[in-house]
Symmetry: C2
Subunit: 406 residues, 2 copies
């Protein structure tokens, strides 16, 4: 008998028929003797519909109240699923975020889980209930409803799995698992059977979008095996687990491509102590997330400073940069929105040299110019012109031996 937490995304619960199919799957596992916790997202499209309703009421809806509104989406799905399971003769019980003991900080719209007291869920499980939890939501110290941000149901599921010491947390979605790269870009992309938390984190950050990043963080922290799989078939998907010896054979596990970045360069900035703080302080104050930062020292006590921000933040970041440039005496501000960031990710990089060389060579052979480079322990990213993005992904996929037979 295992304790399984299953999370189903919006497309898997888009209507009563699909909710019913999810119920079939849950019942099957329950009948096989497993204790089942089901975490649900809002029905596909509902969250967007609620946001549009809020925008009819106010151009910038108050964040606390928007959370109260959005939380109804998952509440609806959880209640419907419990109704369905009970009508089929099973003991079932819905839990809203706060009822499942999900306690968050007070950051509406992107609250962080502080702790979980899933005792009520545990008790219901022990009484033979199938527990249905509304994902994406929690409550703060004041008892105010909060939401965990897009993809937050993943984090709800992993957090509950951690609290209950579940054997596995299954993330059901509309794809078969995590792929070596985006199959829409590269026909030879293959499903990955096992991947480490670290690699998954890099994949998620860089745009694979299968899992909310924080859910992977959480799973890693509490060592909860994640199984990312399709709700439309019975195939195994991708296991996201602790780094293990057999994984290291693959040097590179996946290639990602992020089209959402923009580049801003301050040219000929006086190279003085404190100059970076003068530039990045105001950006941080404006809550603009800076991704890559690259500084090239020029001769003559000047430097070029380049950084990337998301497309959403571009206009504000550019405005701030131009003001700062004037203040510190930079020559000019250059910017580009037509860029892409391609990355290769793999635990094996730690022990294998030559990954960077292979990457640069593969891009050079396609005549793709690299604008910026950044690296982490298990990732190398290159910024290139957006128009070369797909070509670059396919070239790297082949160069690192990831191409499948299909």
């Amino acid at each position: 008998m295992a304790l399984r937490v299953q999370k189903y995304g919006g497309t898997s619960v888009a209507d009563i028929q699909r909710i019913s199919r999810v119920a079939d799957r849950v019942i099957k596992a329950h009948e096989a003797g497993d204790q089942m916790v089901v975490v649900l997202s809002a029905m596909a499209g509902v969250t967007d519909k609620l946001i549009s309703l809020a925008r009819q009421a106010a151009i910038t809806p108050d964040k606390r109240e928007l959370d109260v509104l959005l939380a109804t989406g998952e509440q609806t799905t959880a209640a419907l699923m419990a109704i369905l399971l009970k009508s089929r003769g099973y003991k079932a019980r819905s839990f809203l975020g706060f009822q499942a003991g999900i306690h968050t900080d007070q950051t509406p719209g992107k609250a962080r889980i502080l702790d979980i007291d899933a005792q009520k869920v545990k008790k219901a499980l022990d009484q033979g209930h199938i527990c249905v939890v509304a994902g994406f939501q929690g409550a703060d110290n004041n008892g105010d409803i909060t939401t965990l941000g897009r993809g937050g149901s993943d984090t709800s599921a992993v957090a509950i799995a951690a609290s209950l010491k579940a054997d596995v947390c299954e993330i059901f979605t509309d794809v078969d698992g995590v792929y070596t790269t985006d199959p829409r870009i590269c026909a030879k992309a293959r499903k990955i059977d096992r991947i480490s938390y670290e690699e998954m984190l890099e994949m998620a950050v860089l745009g694979a979008k299968v899992l909310q990043i924080r859910s992977v963080d959480f799973a890693k922290k509490y060592n909860i095996p994640l199984h990312v799989r399709s709700s439309f078939n019975e195939e195994d998907g991708t296991m996201v687990v602790n780094e293990s010896a057999d994984m290291e054979s693959a040097v590179v596990s996946g290639i990602t491509c992020d089209m959402n970045e923009t580049r801003i360069t301050l040219k000929r900035v006086p190279d003085q102590p404190g100059i970076s703080a003068k530039i990045f302080g105001p950006l941080a104050d404006a809550e603009i997330m800076v991704d890559m930062i690259i500084q090239n020292t020029r001769t003559g006590g000047e430097t070029d400073l380049t950084f990337t921000v998301t497309k959403d933040d571009f206009d504000r970041a550019l405005q701030i940069s131009e003001a700062v440039a004037k203040e510190v005496g930079a020559e000019e501000v250059l910017s580009a929105k037509d860029i892409a960031k391609v990355s290769v990710i793999g635990l094996g990089m730690k022990s294998h040299s030559g990954v960077a060389a292979t990457m640069f060579k593969a891009l050079a052979e396609e005549n793709i110019n690299i604008r910026l480079i950044s690296t982490s322990e298990i990732r190398i990213s290159c910024v290139i012109l957006a128009k070369y993005a797909e070509l670059a992904v396919r070239a790297l996929h082949a160069a690192f031996g990831l191409d499948g037979d299909n």
Copy 2:
């Protein structure tokens, strides 16, 4: 400075434009210096839509889970109103039922309020917030979401008003107030300016449907003046208040008509002790509410026993009655669905004789045969054939001097 609780029904908040108009009204009172609590129903049609969704999931949806589902309706309106008020620059805050401290028993679908701790609302008011409360909902001892039944938002509003010792509880609806009778039946119906809780209770029970009955009970118990008025104009509506000396001048305040009753008669029942229990015990066990009970003793130790139940309960009640009739040896069971109950209601009845005589005479003059009669301290009801209902209402309205000039 007054503390006002305002409740708006579904048609008053049917879309963002109407919610915005409600906000105008609330803001106006707030600007005038009043402390404002706004209790909202779900947008018109939403509750029905949710019920139909639940019925797609199960023929008889589980009641606990249905409450979780239905509660999203009021949650949505409350959040939207708070978003709107805040976007206009006012301090506002939404409260779900449990956040407003509405504590109920554990009867899903028609929970009763056990007590209210509106301290959070009080505190927010004192900080200058407009408080927006999701009507219709509360939470029980387990922290489970409950709902208060159709019209439950009225009761939410009155209960909060009682807890906050509000100066007035205003019930905004789509009619101008309480009328002497249904204006759709009698063109000469007039709006009543003041009516006692007792009369309003009789009016509500008998089908005036302006206020949930329990809300009037609550208001009476805590002596909260109710103001029933239209959300579509600024006119005063009907004040529902404690019985006072000046009210007694009107002998009859209103005429009601209930088309939802059916009649069942057991003929020639042996007139023995305990026979009533044998008949009404099984009906009570089946949770069938019996309204009128009339027993006519015949000669020869037999009696005819007649009672009325709602149309919804008719089939089950008839089935039970036929089984019991066989058991106790009654001659036959007669029934009728084409009946109406017309009633005259007035505090003045207590001190004036002749009301019954006037009523019977008015019906007789129209050749309307009375099938059953029942009375309370401030009400006389006659069951007649349904086809005479409108005629009877108009005749009684005129006979008791209620006709207006319009």
